[in-house]
């Protein structure tokens, strides 16, 4: 099912402020609209507010300002309605859960109704298996989550998020536990799905090179504020890296993409 892509369905973040208790973590953040099919990576040092921003977009945090998806005001939606549009993949999946991968992915579909799709049991199983196979863990479908490695659990977790086919997919460090093969596989898959379905992907990453290679846009945050926002080659510059991470770096762009060499800490 391909959706019509248009600016009208963009994700707009305006004047977003959020935090824990009285502590403001993200302060009056405004970003250019994120367009359908776009892959956006949030980068920045520890405690820059990346995860907090993602959780606020997921509706898990109280936030003020405006977050709109097309005409829908996401901040004012109750969780159940919010979950029809947006899915969030947290960093961790609990270790000791006696559910198989397939059950967990089916569970994600059954947890709450998805817009206009009362699926039959058979269709739910098929859809769950499709996603599990695309993520590359078809052989683990009947394995218990409590028997998986950290990386395998992360892939199962990604499958859970993908199976709901959200319009906005929020991923918190989706490849942190994965080996090189699966890191690339996941990035490729996420970008392909964004292109196919017009899904907007916003993810927190730490690896600059991977972010640069697979993202359409980089949003660089520091202390809850926007530093740069744009295509990788514009957002990741030696100057920006020096400002944000306090490292000396050389950044070179060519036909193969962006080459980032970190030389030393400042």
């Amino acid at each position: 099912m391909t959706k019509m892509l248009s600016h009208g369905d963009a994700l707009r973040i305006e004047g977003l402020t959020t935090g824990y208790g009285g502590h403001v973590v993200v302060d009056a953040l405004t970003l250019a609209p994120m367009l359908p099919g776009q892959v956006v990576s949030l980068l920045g040092p520890n405690a820059a507010g990346k995860t907090t921003l993602l959780r606020a977009l997921a509706g898990l945090h109280h936030a003020s300002g405006a977050v709109r998806l097309g005409e829908v005001d996401l901040l004012s939606l109750p969780l159940a309605d919010h979950a029809r549009h947006v899915t969030y993949m947290p960093q961790s999946l609990p270790q000791r859960v006696a559910l198989t991968v397939l059950e967990a992915v089916i569970g994600a579909l059954k947890a709450s109704p998805i817009a206009g799709e009362p699926l039959s049991g058979h269709a739910i199983t098929e859809r769950a298996l499709d996603v599990i196979e695309r993520v590359g863990i078809g052989h683990l479908a009947m394995e218990g989550l409590n028997h998986l490695s950290g990386g395998q659990r992360q892939l199962a977790s990604l499958a859970q998020a993908l199976v709901r086919q959200p319009r906005v997919l929020l991923l918190d460090e989706p490849i942190s536990a994965l080996d090189l093969h699966y890191q690339l596989r996941v990035m490729k898959l996420v970008r392909a799905l964004a292109r196919e379905s017009g899904m907007i992907v916003v993810m927190v990453l730490h690896d600059l090179s991977i972010a640069a290679r697979w993202s359409d846009r980089i949003v660089l945050l520091s202390q809850g504020r926007l530093v740069t926002d744009g295509p990788p080659a514009e957002a990741i510059t030696a100057q920006a890296l020096a400002d944000v991470y306090r490292v000396a770096a050389r950044v070179r762009a060519d036909a193969d993409g962006l080459h980032i060499v970190i030389e030393d800490t400042l």
């Binding site: 109750p78 969780l79 559910l99 994600a108 479908a141």
Partner: protein, 353 residues
């Protein structure tokens, strides 16, 4: 993470269906075993009435003497039914509690609900304090119910205030256990000899207070509560994968927790009010069910109920035959039977789900 080509999609689907069939089978087997133990339960007792006569008493009352009929109708049947109902109720309460508080040690007993009930009973038995205008027979169960319910409301209040977190709720529950136990000890200290023995016996948990009206009330509570529990099964399964994830799947976790605690308080408070403190079922029933069937709550919740009913029935039989001629308080027997079974299960190498 090499791709295993031997596992095909068809293979996976048929394995999934096999797993579902196996679970239904296991559920049926536990159900059947519970029925068998129930039959054993109504056929054992100090008065020599074997199964054949009990059976006759149920379907052909004319063939038995009046005292025999009375034993069957007023003792054997209500005790055995009470064992089944209380076992199922406490085990369901424990299963829900372990999931919504994300703690394998949670149960009505470990989080102070039973202690609160004992405190209420102590107030009535020793000090005669209860709700005004209540028939004396009802003072103890009503007091126990009110205190148990109040303790769960306290837990609920804490669970709702975001600041405490799930760990806070569990710690608070443990604090409740100590507080109420201290209060009960205080009351025991000032109690007369007679009131003291009555109270000690009450707090041991026994089925001999089972009457048809008690049974009716507990059955009604279960009939009302169980459908709501089953309706929340998907949400509870999702909650096992983490609170953030469940919420991002559209589940209002705070509301789920609140509704579940209400159900737990109704189940636990009613059970404890009628049979006293029975400690082990709410903790062990769900664990055994989980080990056998995994954590899909559509299976886990009914399996917990059946397992709880089964253990409680076995304990009821045990309470009659362990010491010939003596009816032990069933609360003692549940622990004596349950602990070894439980140890074997958790020390065994974990099975594949």
């Amino acid at each position: 993470m090499a791709m295993d080509q031997a596992i095909t999609r068809e293979g996976t689907i048929s394995a999934y269906h096999r797993m579902t069939r196996r679970r239904v089978l296991i559920l049926s087997v536990i159900g059947l075993l519970s029925l068998l133990v129930f039959a054993a339960d109504i056929s054992t007792g100090p008065s020599n009435l074997p199964l054949a006569q009990v059976w006759a008493g149920l379907f052909d009352p004319a063939s038995l003497t009046m005292p025999q009929l009375t034993i069957i109708r007023e003792v054997r049947l209500p005790y055995a039914l009470m064992a089944i109902l209380v076992g199922a109720a406490l085990s369901l309460a424990g299963a829900e509690m372990q999931t919504i508080l994300n703690n394998p040690l949670a149960s009505p007993f470990t989080l102070g609900v039973s202690s609160a009930a004992s405190f209420g009973a102590a107030l009535a038995i020793v000090l005669g304090i209860s709700v005004p205008f209540l028939p004396t027979d009802w003072m103890v169960p009503i007091n126990a119910f009110i205190c148990a319910f109040a303790s769960v409301l306290l837990l609920e209040f804490l669970a709702r205030s975001r600041a405490a977190g799930v760990e806070g709720v569990v710690l608070f529950g443990i604090a409740l256990v100590f507080t109420f136990n201290a209060l009960v000890a205080l009351i025991q200290f000032v109690a007369s000899q007679e009131a003291l023995s009555q109270l000690v016996f009450w707090s041991m948990g026994a089925l001999n207070r089972a009457t048809w009206s008690n049974l009716g009330i507990l059955a009604l509570v279960m009939l009302v509560v169980t459908p709501f529990s089953m309706r929340a099964a998907h949400a509870m399964t999702a909650l096992r994968l983490g609170e953030d994830r469940a919420r991002s799947f559209g589940i209002d976790v705070a509301r789920l927790r609140f509704a579940s605690l209400l159900r737990i308080s109704a189940l636990a408070a009613t059970s404890v009010a009628f049979v006293g403190t029975i400690g082990f079922i709410g903790l062990v029933g769900p664990h055994i069910a989980r080990l056998m069937l995994g954590e899909d709550h559509r299976f886990l919740l009914p399996a917990s109920m059946l397992t709880g009913a089964f253990i409680m029935s076995v304990a009821s039989v045990g309470s009659k035959i362990l010491v010939p001629g003596v009816l032990l308080p069933v609360g003692i027997v549940t622990s004596m039977i349950g602990v070894p079974v439980f140890l074997v299960l958790i020390l065994r190498k974990p099975e594949r789900v």
